[in-house]
Subunit: 239 residues, 2 copies
């Protein structure tokens, strides 16, 4: 055990509070992952019922945000933590906020699924490409949450490096869709929904990277936001 792990406190109760808090954040993370999965499925299969379920379920994520923020505040007020413990709690606040925003983006995708199902015309949406981009992003978020669960930075550089792939896939879908719009004006409305959807996916990737950056701060005490990937890698390795 070292002082950058949860279980190092003399107070068993404090250890338990932090463990609980971490588990609650991970529960929220699991729910958010499920929301992305269902939103994309609803979009690809024009499943309005599933989309409505995602929209409804977002309330649960919002409620979790409020409850977990309160839990964090109570621990802060009661335990008056410093050093790693303080960074841990501030990182939890920030991670909760990132997850809530990812939940909102899943809701945007679900709304696009409903709007798209109402638009006339053939689908023609690049479902294969969107699915591929969604898989990439779900992987990034899952691995970021897994690193958070294990409080380990080992995978962090590999996760944030994937954001470049996401950006490339995003740009490629946008280019393809613009061509498609230009070919036939009847495609425009439907295609705009595809654009808002892939834009939302791209932003979920950014939030996954943000979670990784918060994690570096928590464990290393170094703020790696707005630095290059190389800089992040160096900080993770402690160079």
């Amino acid at each position: 055990m070292n002082n950058t792990s949860i279980g190092h406190h003399i107070s068993e109760q404090f250890n338990k509070e932090l463990e609980d808090m971490r588990n609650h954040v991970l529960t929220m993370g699991g729910l958010v992952e499920e929301q992305i999965e269902n939103a994309i499925k609803a979009f690809a299969t024009a499943d309005v019922e599933l989309a409505e379920q995602v929209i409804k379920q977002d309330n649960q994520i919002d409620a979790l945000e409020i409850a977990l923020d309160r839990e964090c505040m109570e621990i802060l007020a009661l335990r008056q933590p410093t050093a790693f413990d303080l960074r841990l709690l501030i990182t939890m606040f920030k991670t909760i906020n990132e997850l809530e925003r990812v939940g909102d983006l899943a809701e945007v995708i679900a709304k696009m699924a409903i709007v798209t199902s109402e638009v006339e015309g053939h689908p023609h949406a690049p479902y294969y490409e969107i699915q591929h981009m969604a898989d990439l992003i779900k992987g990034m978020l899952h691995d970021a949450l897994d690193s958070f669960a294990r409080m380990s930075l080992d995978e962090v550089p590999a996760i944030t490096a994937r954001d470049e792939l996401v950006d490339r896939e995003y740009a490629s879908i946008i280019r393809q869709q613009i061509t498609y719009m230009m070919e036939d004006a009847r495609n425009i409305k439907r295609t705009l929904n595809v654009l808002w959807t892939v834009r939302s996916l791209e932003r979920i990737g950014d939030h996954a990277c943000n979670i990784c950056e918060h994690l570096v701060y928590m464990i290393k005490g170094e703020d790696v936001r707005h630095t290059s990937h190389e800089e992040l890698e160096k900080k993770v390795k402690g160079e």
Copy 2:
């Protein structure tokens, strides 16, 4: 003086730290307001030089985010605040984060200004409508920061109520632009830049509302995120 103001501590030094922190957040806010102003101006006048200045200046906002977060952390660790003071510091963290995201959105608009200046064809963008929407949003952000400066909730319900107007203007511009795209495929690329720009503006309005909600939490200790406008108004009035 009451216990929901900054100057109530016995320690003069602590009062000064909180005052400084508040002033630094307001400085960041002023810079962010300037960025929105310049980004919209660059977009409306196709001023590439000004757009590049906005993009460059975003680094300064990013650096401020890191510096102010650190300042907050130091006060938390040193002063171990509880009750109002703890809420004040957590609200500062959250407000800094909202401002940084607004800065990013101003950068998106500046990038759109550059891309648009390179696209062939007549402008035809709804500059009058965009300017009107931008004025509305700048007003919301300015008033939110003003409420933060005065630590007063008096104006908060009137600020968040304006978000509905923003949403209406946003929807109207989007509808108009879709028609415009359908009329002539050569308008598509340019019009997409308009869509990303108004989308960014709309999101800035959301961040202004978020700042108001954080402020309610700070002063009232009540979390009004994800509640209705009526609910927020009631909480502000302490009903």
